[in-house]
């Protein structure tokens, strides 16, 4: 009995750590060897700040994902998948490490704080995500469209934005 008790005591914290590892105070998962953090929107900037202080000095990329057709996707335990996700890839040049930060963004309030203050290089990628997904990055210095024309309606990379076809007129049509 005593042996079992000891074994159970030893096992309990170990499995707990294995199930819910954290980094910078937020859940951390391992995707085939890639480290992924899952902060909430409130924690997002703080986590970026801690990552920057920890040596992740280069913001490789900011992009968004529309999970409308992929609601059952795996996120970290305890994190509820929302429609949108903002994915940030960071790079530590000295430590040769990568870190990915996935933040869930609800469809009814697609808004995330901008990382430009920490990473000036996030400016263009954030504009792209804003343009193509309609996610607004608050405090972004230049929240204009970047790839689509300024007067464009809608956000093309959203899943409910249908692929359209513009009829191409190869020959003159009679009556025109």
């Amino acid at each position: 009995m005593a042996d079992e008790g000891v074994a159970a005591d030893d096992a309990a914290p170990a499995t707990e750590i294995a199930e819910q590892p954290t980094m910078f105070g937020v859940p951390c998962t391992d995707e085939r060897g890639q480290q992924v953090l899952h902060p909430s929107r409130d924690e997002y900037l703080d986590v970026l700040g801690m990552a920057a202080a920890d040596g992740f000095e280069l913001c490789v990329d900011v992009c968004a994902v529309d999970g409308l057709t992929n609601r059952g996707r795996a996120v970290a335990p305890g994190i509820e998948p929302e429609r949108f996700e903002v994915v940030v890839n960071l790079l530590d040049l000295r430590g040769r490490r990568r870190l990915r930060i996935r933040t869930q963004v609800p469809a009814d309030d697609p808004q995330v704080p901008s990382a430009v203050g920490l990473y000036p290089g996030a400016e263009a990628p954030e504009r792209e995500a804003a343009d193509l997904f309609g996610i607004s990055f608050s405090d972004h210095p230049d929240p204009s469209r970047i790839l689509m024309p300024p007067d464009w309606d809608g956000h093309p990379l959203r899943k409910d934005y249908a692929i359209g076809a513009i009829p191409v007129q190869f020959k003159a049509v009679e009556g025109r």
Partner: protein
């Protein structure tokens, strides 16, 4: 070096001209109190639009520039003229069709986009590719790096008035493209690297073709050195022009030759090896001053390094299959289709329905001639990707442009745009 100070080290005047695309057309509409931009004749700063139709903009790059006399103050690159929604298209193509689409992004180095997409798919599939496929990929990519850098030398020379260079660069590039045609069937947009390996084995006599390139090119590179590197006019036009420091480059997320020109020896082939780059010998070329000349000479010398890698690929090319034997991804051999109904059905299913990729997400990066080329791929378990995002180095590097041009001359702006080497197909996707 920490990013916490990244915002602080931006140039004091904030080199980016933050106006909208429409406002850039009409200086009177610019409601920028500090700008005092005017179209009236006088001494104030002037707003001009360079491009999108301009020979030195490498396609359709438009730059709104604030000029004080001939000095460039703030500026803003305006892009999107070539946007065709390729990431949206990718969501509608199977994983096997994917390379056909992504190869059209960076048309000067198409094999790299194919490679990064296929590496991402293979990562999700968990497929191991045979060694020969790895080495063929490496061989082709290094040749592609050479052709891409030769194209850079050609256009960079032309932008700065060395028009002869235009012809020489294109000529040497053509030698390599001819080899690509013999291997893949196409000069560009090859669709050669596929999930699971490559589309076809190298043709008979490929060693001779590659050796021909390797024997011809060194002499030509010497000639380029004579024509440009040692030439006083060339040096005057490039040295000390468009300087960026390592801290600034990192803060602006710049990668590739733009980052290496600052002395930062960051090359993914060395620092985070993929394929078999840890098994070949090569040097990472770095600059010291972060100027246009450094970026030029880095690319010139990277051609030499790539030639070293190609030589080693020639020696070490393993025998064996050129694509994985995994029946899930690879269609059955042509001969099997004639005799086996199952093989025919299998072949048909792979090419119509496509193969399914386990759900998950991954980010894979390779060192393209322009910097870190990444692919963020999300699969929901179906035969088509849920999201394909290509982290295009040209797109990200382009935002350094205002910082590089700030305070320089308008004529130097041409040299600087050229030295960033943007490929607009990749910028706009």
């Amino acid at each position: 070096m920490s990013t916490a100070t990244a915002a602080a080290i931006r140039r004091p005047a904030d080199a980016v001209l933050r106006i909208s695309e429409e406002a850039a057309l009409d200086a009177a509409a610019v409601d920028d109190d500090a700008a005092a931009i005017t179209t009236e004749p006088g001494d104030g700063p002037m707003l001009i639009n360079m491009g999108p139709q301009h020979p030195s903009t490498h396609g359709v790059l438009r730059i709104a520039m604030e000029l004080q006399g001939e000095t460039v103050l703030r500026s803003k690159p305006i892009i999107g003229y070539l946007h065709t929604g390729m990431e949206k298209t990718a969501e509608d193509l199977t994983f096997l069709q994917g390379p056909t689409n992504v190869t059209r992004m960076d048309y000067a180095s198409p094999l790299f986009t194919e490679l990064v997409f296929c590496l991402a798919v293979e990562d999700l599939l968990g497929t191991e590719i045979p060694p020969r496929a790895t080495w063929i990929r490496m061989l082709m990519c290094e040749l592609n790096r050479m052709s891409s850098h030769l194209l850079f030398l050609a256009t960079n020379g032309m932008d700065l008035g060395a028009v002869g260079m235009m012809l020489y660069g294109w000529k040497e590039r053509e030698e390599i493209l001819r080899f690509f045609e013999s291997v893949t069937g196409l000069r560009m947009n090859h669709n050669y690297i596929r999930p699971g390996g490559v589309a076809a084995d190298l043709p008979d006599g490929w060693q001779d073709d590659v050796e021909h390139i390797l024997t011809v090119l060194p002499d030509r590179l010497e000639q380029f050195d004579t024509l440009m590197t040692g030439q006083p006019i060339w040096r005057d036009r490039t040295q000390g022009v468009g300087v960026i420091t390592a801290d600034e480059a990192i803060a602006m997320s710049a990668t590739g030759p733009l980052l290496r020109s600052t002395g930062e020896a960051w090359d993914l082939r060395r620092t985070m090896p993929y394929l078999a780059y840890d098994e070949v010998d090569f040097d990472v070329v770095v600059g010291a001053y972060g100027d246009t000349f450094d970026r030029y000479s880095i690319r010139l010398n990277e051609i030499r390094e790539s030639m070293r890698i190609v030589e080693q690929c020639l020696d070490k090319m393993p025998r064996g299959p050129y694509r994985t034997e995994d029946r899930k991804v690879t269609p059955p051999p042509r001969a099997r289709i004639d005799e086996s109904m199952e093989a025919l059905i299998h072949h048909f299913k792979i090419f119509t329905e496509g193969f399914r990729v386990p759900p998950g997400e991954t980010y894979v990066a390779v060192e393209s001639p322009r910097g870190e080329l990444g692919c963020y791929l999300v699969s929901d378990g179906g035969p088509k990707p849920q999201r394909v995002h290509i982290r295009a180095p040209s797109f990200v590097n382009l935002q350094s442009l205002p910082h590089l041009m700030y305070g320089g001359l308008l004529a130097d702006a041409i040299a600087i745009i050229s030295s960033v080497d943007p490929i607009m197909g990749e910028v706009d996707r």
